[in-house]
Subunit: 435 residues, 2 copies
């Protein structure tokens, strides 16, 4: 994320992390080169379009903790990183509330051109009321309405990316002075419930046309959206076979095969020379985590002010009848009634850490790979430390087991992952192509 | 412009221009390095948010001629160029219709951070109906309404850029775990006629806070807008002392001094070893210009379909009573009644060329500099040819006469041009600062 503190709040204070250098292009370019050298598929950039201002009724804690504020635009990091690399992909998060689809389509196509087809878009619908309020919506549209809007938004995009310029529209005929054949460039004349866009698309076809589509919804409506649109889904934590199977089943409804969607687990790894060293490192990191930052983050995610509860009181003490259902269900995940909301905030950060020697971690990842995961999204604790630890320790083992690529495939990001440059023929977006 | 054909239509067909490589970052990065080596202040990127579809009632000619379509996003070129340079500034065009100000503010701040304060924004209000129609407006707002909207848009931006985060809000206190002091980060609570934005700004203060502000309006309302907001105004062609004097006079109304606005003339130079060689080069370039491209461009600018008139008929033959007033006034600029609309389209492209030896061109620029111009915006005929010709021939003469910098000043782009990093105290945007 183009910010100081993304997930593991408080760790920005450590001397061994470069989070304070988030405004420096050098930091990002070096990171991209490091990942490419190790043959990572892509670098993933999260984003939010608003401030977390639920906790204690305002943004104060978020601002003090640099908890996803300041947060700069992620897309502007990509061109500099792309120019310094050749194969690494770049996935960025963009909310359908933040930008009109006509403009968004152009920006994505531009990125796809400039990166030679190495860009992926993580589709989000926003969950922070402050994002919506600042962006001209009176308030955050209801959850399911956001997905309805998302469907319309993506339909506009598919029409622009896939249906406006035919594949052979651009001829670049110097002799006859014809750059593109106007008979092969079409208006889209989209009239939907949310957007009216006549077109044509302002960009000629880029290497992937539609960027590789990521999504991360896990609600019922979010899964449906993923089943319809997503090519890659990332999921927090391991052991989520149920979600994977469910989304794959839903995909059939849209004419898609189970293998048309790949699943990536978002994991935090703490790697040591030995298990004991890893545990010591985890303990030290855990010590530096900020519970306040975690509570502010959780409050925004839950839409409930955890500032109203004493973070040190055991949850067994609470009468959940007066508390939001989602908060109650969240508390139900606690291991016992002595757990506090402070513990839960901590466990949101470190509870999912996988701690071990390189060999142990490789075993664990192999297990996930054998039980449904197609790949992993590494969430850093320190940067580039987490990545370097992985590259030095775990990657060589995975490579020796044939579980991680040792050379890049050619072509676009989608070709590298799925073997074809453009959306699969049975993807709903492909239906808008001119035959 | 991040496109194939910007002003001199048809020239993309020449082998000595790199316009066909507009999607390659290498092309842009090399250009930026060339300009920085020669000590240019900045590289200026034009833009449009729609397609020119007035001529012959559709976009066909524009598409065939690559006349500003395809047109990719300009901002995404900047990070790669910025990473390869240290001093060169980057001015980009952005329409107030294309993006919500809350989002636009973040993108500009991000660019200002990533470039270490080397970014300028050319404020435009759009004149293509197709831009407005595609971006969710039923039709293009009326000319003066766009400027009203622009005033509100800029007020939001000033509040976010200047008034949301106090200059010393960010403390980065590792010991106490305080990144920023929440008491010094403020909501803006903007409620205007067009926009309601509570804030706070998502970005911490960037080196310039408000990017250096360019503007180019020449209508009555446009001049008023420039007098109020612009720090730099660029004007097409030479000999426009009247506009310069008028805008400087209007500035007083907003508490600004005449010298608070700098004026840049947009010029096309055709430079040869001798005057005769330059004339031969100009004749050859002129031969390659596309009149059709020029007519499509002019039609969009005039909002009148020149496809309805025979471009080869002398204007003396037309009865202008049935023709739009603006078209009539345009035709009145023709040197004589035998001039055709085709001639006018050509003269829109080559009519303002300044053709001569390096010495002659330097004399001409010096004359402009002595009669009100603060600088120049070079419009290429071929790229990087036009720039290389200038750098090799004219720049050394200007430097020897003390008219062009031989070393960069330190600091942000605004410091290099005005001597101060932030908006001047008497600029209307500075009024939103927290004292």
């Amino acid at each position: 994320m183009n910010c100081v503190s993304h997930i593991h709040h408080g760790l920005w204070r450590r001397p061994d992390t470069q989070q304070l250098q988030y405004t420096s292009l050098d930091t990002w370019v070096e990171l991209a080169k490091t990942l490419e050298k190790a043959k990572f598929d892509s670098l993933f950039l999260a984003d939010v379009s608003g401030v977390y201002d639920t906790y204690n009724g305002g943004p104060e804690t978020s601002i003090r903790e640099a908890m996803q504020i300041p947060v700069n635009d992620p897309t502007l990091l990509i061109p500099a990183m792309a120019h310094a690399t050749e194969h690494l992909g770049f996935a960025y998060t963009g909310s359908i509330l933040a930008e009109h689809p006509f403009n968004f389509a152009r920006r994505a196509s531009t990125l796809d051109h400039l990166t030679n087809g190495r860009v992926a878009w993580n589709v989000v619908t926003s969950y922070l009321p402050s994002a919506a309020q600042n962006l001209g919506f009176h308030d955050l549209p209801r959850h399911d309405d956001r997905y309805e809007r998302g469907d319309d938004y993506l339909e506009v995009l598919y029409k622009l990316w896939e249906g406006s310029w035919e594949q052979d529209a651009v001829v670049r005929d110097v002799e006859r002075g014809i750059y593109a054949d106007p008979n092969k460039v079409h208006r889209i004349n989209h009239v939907g419930p949310y957007y009216q866009v006549p077109g044509p698309h302002l960009c000629e076809p880029s290497p992937q046309r539609t960027p590789l589509l990521f999504q991360a919804g896990s609600s019922d409506r979010g899964r449906e959206f993923a089943a319809r649109h997503a090519e890659c889904v990332f999921i927090l934590g391991g052991g989520r076979q149920e979600i994977i199977a469910d989304i794959r089943t839903r995909a059939a409804k849209y004419g898609r095969r189970p293998e048309d969607i790949k699943f990536f687990l978002a994991l935090s790894l703490v790697i040591g020379g030995t298990e004991a060293q890893a545990q010591a490192k985890a303990a030290e990191l855990n010590e530096t985590l900020s519970i306040e930052g975690g509570l502010a983050h959780m409050s925004g995610q839950l839409g409930a002010d955890l500032g109203a509860v004493d973070p040190n009181r055991p949850i067994g003490d609470f009468d959940f009848n007066g508390i939001l259902g989602f908060l109650k269900s969240f508390a139900s995940r606690a291991p016992d009634k002595m757990t506090t909301f402070g513990d839960l905030a901590r466990s949101q950060m470190s509870g999912h850490w996988i701690v071990g020697s390189a060999e142990q971690i490789a075993d664990r990842l192999q297990h996930f790979a054998e039980t449904g995961a197609d790949g992993f999204n590494l969430v850093y604790a320190t940067t580039p430390g987490t990545f370097v630890d992985f590259i030095d320790g775990v990657a060589p083992i995975l490579k020796s087991r044939g579980l991680m690529q040792t050379e890049y495939q050619g072509g676009t990001l989608r070709e590298k992952i799925f073997g074809h440059a453009h959306l699969a023929k049975n993807h709903p977006g492909a239906a808008y192509r001119i035959r």
